[in-house]
Symmetry: C2
Subunit: 258 residues, 2 copies
């Protein structure tokens, strides 16, 4: 690097702390994406720590409830890249960043840049409570506001602002709502009415997070998916809709890191 | 319609037999698309009769083996539209045309036009043995060449020509290969190498078409899907790949019309 570039980089680092380390709880893969807009896609996962929400049914509560605080590693983008390459070798070209809420981390910009420079596509899911400029660089962005069963409140103004920015830039994104009950479904329809142009996904929620036996879990998840199909098929408000399960829970149950 | 338009329409019908009836075996829905590039999408299905292939494991052999020949109805596009509306009322905006091989039917152009005029999106799956100009009008087109286990021969020149035409027009399409065994997987990789820019799907095949008990079928299909995941995850030739089951067989088994 020549000295001018070095000076620019140092200056940039001084004003925008792009090299701040990233709090990471899990790096795993390659595996299949089990849900949403790229369901089935071969991908690697990076799970960041920390969340501004406390969803009642969160399937990754260890990212925010303190139970895994000793497992959080503060990693540079370079370190994450190296670990992904070690795990995925030459057999992946897609990385999914999940949380927690990765939108709390401005420093993800550097990781996203490095992934793109290495020819990888990047997917990311967030609840839509906070904007980051790097949203516009994500290849498969999922905004997943949380329904009443989560016991969280949606900040509609902030969500409106995020969707407006993404639509103005014609970013590839979708809206996804996890549905456990009728009230959640009403909320999902509210989201779809509010953002009618965004591809729209509803996903059957997993309400048996403590079940350790995948074979016992499967019939229950199947019946929850069937319920959601029944609820949505005759609904004229949900025409342009994708109804999906979490495939990974059907295959691996509640096991982590797959 | 004024007389000039009528004259033009009559003339058009005389040279291009767009009003030839369509041989139809099933019209059903709304339901979820269980496989491929729009898995989960709420859709209606129109299944046409007749196929140029005789795949050993065809899950819709009644479309070509004569067993349902008395159920074939020769329907106009208008009639199909009316039947879709009767079934789906105001709650659908997506129609999937399947077969058999719908690419045998030039007269589908009129149905596709009428669906688009009514604001519906159109998906269609075909094996890629025959071109139709209306391929370019399909919103979600799946080209699914058949692997060795089907006992069919792929006409690569014809497939090359189809993919080249679709890519030249930047049509939205994907390649999908159903995989039952190692030889099929080798074939799938050949397809992906040959058309590296097309979104690529592999799908676990269902080799228990006679099983009537959905609960007995499910663990078997699950293990076939897991096998396919295991085969593909560490494969550097299959980076940009979607690995999916047939969701509808997990939910409804081998039941028809869902």
């Amino acid at each position: 690097m020549d000295s001018l570039a070095q000076t620019i980089k140092q200056h940039k680092n001084a004003t925008v702390p792009a090299s701040r380390p990233i709090p990471v709880l899990e790096i795993f893969g390659p595996t299949v994406q089990g849900e949403g807009m790229v369901v089935g896609r071969k991908t690697m996962f990076v799970r960041t720590a920390g969340c501004d929400y406390r969803c009642a049914w969160c399937d990754s509560a260890f990212t925010w409830d303190g139970s895994a605080k000793d497992d959080i590693r503060l990693l540079s983008a370079e370190h994450i890249m190296a670990e992904l390459d070690q795990l995925g070798q030459d057999s992946y070209d897609h990385v999914t960043i999940s949380g927690g809420n990765p939108a709390l981390l401005p420093q993800l910009a550097e990781l996203i840049d490095q992934l793109h420079a290495a020819g990888k596509k990047v997917a990311l899911e967030t609840q839509g409570s906070k904007w980051q400029d790097w949203f516009l660089a994500i290849d498969d962005l999922t905004i997943s506001p949380k329904p009443p069963s989560s016991q969280m409140e949606t900040a509609w103004d902030r969500l409106d602002d995020i969707v407006a920015k993404l639509e103005a830039k014609r970013s590839r994104f979708c809206m996804k709502v996890v549905v456990f009950d009728e009230a959640d479904l009403a909320y999902a329809k509210q989201v779809h009415r509010r953002y009618p142009h965004a591809p729209f996904y509803v996903q059957a929620g997993n309400d048996q997070l403590a079940e350790q036996d995948a074979e016992r879990l499967l019939p229950h998840l199947l019946s929850r998916y069937q319920w959601l199909i029944d609820q949505t098929m005759d609904d004229a408000e949900l025409k342009s809709v994708y109804v999906l399960p979490q495939l990974h829970t059907w295959v691996w149950g509640n096991k982590k890191g797959v």
